[in-house]
């Protein structure tokens, strides 16, 4: 009875998993199919070809876009981690005038939808003369209220005595943050990193506003322009460009996944 229920459970779960993964696998497979095979639901191309990728690569600067995206997303993620954890540390652990106001404002920022600030931000970028620069893509995202609050939440739980002890050992605040808090906050930092990276990697709207030069376009932006603008010409080529977009994210996730699994218990202080 018990085995039966187990079998049923696994069958159900497998079915659900397949439902989710099938479209993705189909997309991956279809990029390798010649045009006359695209209409089929098969997962294995009968005559595999890399033509779709070749065509895509030839028609638009996807290599450059990939590099742009990597540069922008990495810069933003690094900045959010470094600057965000510094802000979070100050909020969580230092006593200074205006701290409650700072916290309230940070929380308030979360309540403002991004679309609302889009126009003023755009105007600002225009006036700074940053249109068609990397600065326009990167600078507005260097700090992130969600990241700050998440890290702050983690940092307040680290025992005060660890900070005291580090100060007695001769550390300054930055050193405490990066040599004591960072190793203990790995799971939180990993989550922030993944969300920030993915958010930045997938961002389309903002780059469309501030970048018109094809050489500065990020991958999703170029993809949008390319696929929607009819540059792809065929479904296979469209999907190939989508693959190029998605693979780095999957790789990044696989690379960082173990931090999700590493339990918070590792950060505990007592045995």
């Amino acid at each position: 009875m018990r085995t039966l229920r187990r079998v049923a459970l696994y069958a159900g779960l497998t079915l659900a998993a397949l439902t989710f993964i099938y479209p993705f696998l189909w997309m991956a497979a279809t990029t390798l199919k010649p045009p006359f095979e695209v209409g089929t639901l098969a997962l294995i191309p009968e005559r595999p070809t890399l033509d779709n990728y070749r065509t895509m690569w030839a028609r638009a600067p996807f290599g450059r876009a990939l590099l742009n995206s990597a540069l922008v997303a990495t810069t933003i993620t690094a900045a959010v981690l470094v600057l965000g954890s510094m802000t979070a540390y100050a909020m969580a652990r230092l006593r200074f005038r205006g701290r409650p106001v700072l916290q309230a404002v940070t929380l308030g920022v979360l309540l403002v939808p991004g679309q609302l600030t889009l126009i003023p931000l755009y105007t600002l970028i225009v006036q700074l003369g940053w249109i068609d620069t990397y600065a326009a893509l990167v600078v507005p995202y260097l700090l992130n209220a969600t990241a700050i609050l998440m890290l702050r939440q983690f940092f307040v739980q680290i025992p005060q005595s660890l900070i005291d002890s580090a100060r007695m050992d001769g550390m300054g605040e930055l050193r405490i943050l990066f040599t004591i808090f960072w190793p203990l906050a790995k799971p939180a930092l990993a989550i922030v990193a993944i969300f920030t990276f993915m958010g930045s990697w997938n961002e389309v709207l903002w780059p469309l506003l501030v970048v018109r030069d094809q050489r500065l376009m990020t991958l999703p932006q170029l993809l949008t322009v390319f696929a929607l603008g009819g540059g792809a010409g065929s479904m296979g080529v469209s999907l190939a460009s989508a693959m190029v977009l998605v693979v780095p994210v999957v790789v990044a996730y696989v690379f960082l996944q173990r931090y999700f699994i590493e339990s918070m218990a590792g950060a505990g202080i007592k045995g």
Binding site: M168, R175, G271
Partner: protein, 364 residues
Amino acid sequence: MPPVSFQHVSKRFGGATVVDDFDLEIADGELLVLVGGSGSGKSTILRMLAGLESVTAGTIRIGERDVTALPPRQRDVAMVFQDYALYPHMTVRENLSLGLRLRRMPRQEIDRRVGWAAATLALEPLLGRKPKQLSGGQQQRVAMGRAMVREPAVFLFDEPLSNLDAALRAQMRIEIGSLQRRLKTTAVYVTHDQVEAMTLGDRIVVLANTRIQQVGRPIEIYRAPVNRFVAGFIGTPPMNFLEGRLHDDGGGPVFVADGARVKLLRARIAAGSSQPVTLGVRPEDLRLDIATPGAGEDSADALAGRVVLVERLGGTSHVHFDAGQHRLIASVTHDPVPNVGDAVTVQVPAERAHLFGADGRALA
């Protein structure tokens, strides 16, 4: 090594005074214990000495140096924390050596000190482990070792034994005491446990309500508490107190309370009579006898009581009894130990009686 001095140190958080005019010199190589209940300010004093808390008023000196405004790392002090505060992601060796590495000490010297501390504290087999993999007692030793390798001018202990179970606590108490005597490093030890205070301290500072109540060698504080708070705080079981009045009927001063008369030594009583006073007497100083009907009941300096509870600890028994409206405790080491419900007579030896005035101060 330099002594420590606090000169009229106060600490206020907002409007609340936490430490009020703390003024004290700590001698070279001394182990000074700060003892008091929660809110007495003992931990704040330690943290001010460590540099972890700012000083509102007054001066702290370590040796010749005024350290009042210096950050912790420039004070040449090392601290052992209640929860040990070991860095969870570092091995024992890394925990021990971190403070030295940050001070850019030569590698050889670091290795020598870590080796010495590990040997002294029996940590050698554990150097490669992480704190999580250690027992409470072992973590405690690592915390001690981390303070030792610094070879500081002053050791600071912030309730280091509170997280250990009773047996380990007794053992670590002995280890800390013997280690400190061996190293002869000046140490300040904060605890709420008066047994730790009595057994470890060269001197004890009893704190209550943000102020020093009494400073002295443990036995002085035990024998001659300056006020009722100290008398009640130091000693287990605590001192018995009886509320009453002083009378002098010509035959010498007598303490009179509800159902009790205790003759006192003339020399210890200031002139004046019929003032309200509190008589204090330690449980082991009471002489308790099982009452024999018809005898000694109106003996001049005996209390009559009835036993309500007996705690037998083996060698000693704590006999709780009611005398008039007072609930008292006597420590009895001899047989026969009375049973619950027995009538007892209790003698208060005049030379062991403590008297406290209405303001709580001891009457000399």
